[in-house]
Amino acid sequence: MLKIYAAFCLLIVVMLSLANVQGYVITSLLTGEARADKTANHYHK
């Protein structure tokens, strides 16, 4: 059990590193902040 937990902790730390480096703000993602899935529509220059 302890081994699983240690592996889990390692995973969390790795994920934290990746998220920080790549500029993810997880809380914003979770509250549904927009991701660019759609192209800009009627907002044209």
Partner: protein, 447 residues
């Protein structure tokens, strides 16, 4: 004869000639004066009461005529471990020579006490209550405060008072080295320091102290080759040890190490963040223009990172809603988000109150490098009132943010906190049978 009186007392311990061979020590049998059945004593010379296995009469074995203490005409009760069974515990072979069934003062709780015998090592007890077993040894020590204080110290350890009560002998079989009697009542006090327990038994003038250690039913079953199922544990024993204390401790070490690592990662992130402002401006929007989309000038995001959009407005008792869209000029990809700026304030009988905020901020994750504009659509209660809206805006990139770290910390500590709760619950269950429960385990108790 006079010559032999010239004595040299040799200090080197010279040994005398051995005396003639003496017969081996062996069990002693005699006939029960009540029924004629055979009674065999194992702890010869030490046992004082023996129970006839045929008729259950209690016999005084210190009396040369084997006086009957209590006559009976009953069959012997069957017990989990029988008189005469032998087992090896902690490297020593023990023989069961006696058994008592005891109850508490209310006669609701029963427990078994087996008397174990080894001619060299003396006596021990195996006590079984509610499926939990203790291996017990008589303590020939003075323990100050035993039976009186709420806490006693033995062998450098603190033992906490768990219960005070009575023990009543209900049934006996086998032989005993004290004058056991059915119906005999003693005062009992138990002190715990899991896995150990110290019990005090007091009757009239005599005080007996004993030290018990929790032992798993599995160990008893294998020691005495018990084929039947051992009684199931129905409560947490007063001195039941917590499971896997090393594992629990190590788990916290892992959590601490992970937290330290996460903190290091976070500090590195914060120290190396660009935290650069890529755009800042202010706008005044008057009611006629309220339906128009404001477009910022182009600004550059040189490297993939998070983006923070900060807006503020000097509204007073008003609301302001913003529809924002961060648009990549080359790919036309858009990041849409909403912001609400609401601020209300007033005086309530001389005291100032306020609600809301005059600013808002939102993060967008992982915005690729490129040239961007921000498009702003707004709506506000101020427009109805024919007022204008003053909007101030700043866009930053690669902003050091602690929320990822706190999420990681929460994730790291979920399991340890769960285990902490389980441990608290275990202790609460342990103390639920006691009248001396420590305060932290009395939370949530029903009155």
């Amino acid at each position: 004869m006079a010559d032999s009186l010239q004595n040299n007392l040799s200090q080197s311990g010279a040994v005398a000639a051995p005396p003639p061979e003496k017969p081996k020590g062996k069990p002693k049998s005699f006939n029960c004066p009540a029924c004629g059945g055979t009674i065999t004593l194992k702890a010869v010379g030490v046992s004082v009461h023996a129970v006839c296995s045929s008729c259950s009469s209690v016999i005084d074995t210190t009396d040369e005529n084997y006086r009957i203490i209590e006559a009976a005409h009953q069959n012997t009760r069957k017990t989990l471990i029988e008189i005469g069974n032998r087992g090896r515990l902690k490297g020593i072979e023990w023989e069961i020579i006696g058994y008592t069934d005891k109850t508490d003062g209310s006669e609701m709780y029963h427990w078994d006490e087996y008397l174990l015998y080894n001619p060299c090592y003396g006596f021990r007890f195996l006590v079984q209550e509610s499926g939990n077993w203790n291996f017990v040894k008589v303590l020939r020590r003075d323990v100050p405060g035993a039976g009186v204080s709420n806490e006693i110290i033995f062998d450098g350890q603190k033992f906490a008072l768990f219960l005070k009560g009575e023990a009543v002998v209900q049934y006996v079989k086998g032989e005993f080295y004290w004058r056991v009697k059915k119906g005999e009542r003693t005062f009992v006090a138990d002190y715990i320091a899991p896995p150990r327990i110290i019990s005090i038994e007091k009757n009239n003038e005599e005080i007996n102290l004993s030290l018990g250690e929790y032992i798993e039913p599995g160990d008893i079953a294998s020691a005495f080759a018990i084929k039947e199922k051992m009684p199931a544990k129905t409560v947490v024993a007063p001195n039941q040890p917590v499971a896997n204390p090393d594992g629990y401790r190590n788990m916290w070490f892992v959590a601490a190490a992970a937290f330290a690592l996460a903190l290091a990662v976070q500090f590195t992130t914060v120290a190396t963040a660009d935290n650069a402002e890529v755009y800042t401006n202010s706008f005044i929007v008057r009611p006629p223009q309220k339906d128009q989309t404001i477009a910022t000038t182009s600004f550059n995001i040189p490297k993939e990172s998070n983006v923070l959009i900060q807006t503020s407005s000097q509204i007073d008792n008003e609301w302001l809603e913003l529809d924002l869209s961060l648009v990549d000029e080359k790919t036309d990809k858009a990041y849409d988000l909403k912001q609400a700026i609401e601020y209300y304030q007033g005086y309530d009988g001389g005291e100032h109150w306020s609600e809301g905020s005059q600013s808002a901020e939102s993060y967008i994750s992982r915005v690729p490098a490129g040239n961007y504009r921000l498009l702003v659509d707004m709506d506000s209660g101020a427009f109805e009132k024919n007022g204008g809206v003053f909007l101030s805006m700043a866009i930053r990139r690669d902003v050091p943010n602690w929320s990822n770290f706190w999420l990681a910390t929460a994730a790291i500590f979920i399991y340890p906190l769960f285990e902490l709760f389980r441990r608290w619950k275990f202790e609460k269950d342990r103390w639920s049978e006691s009248d001396y429960t420590p305060a932290i385990y009395r939370i949530n108790e029903e009155e």
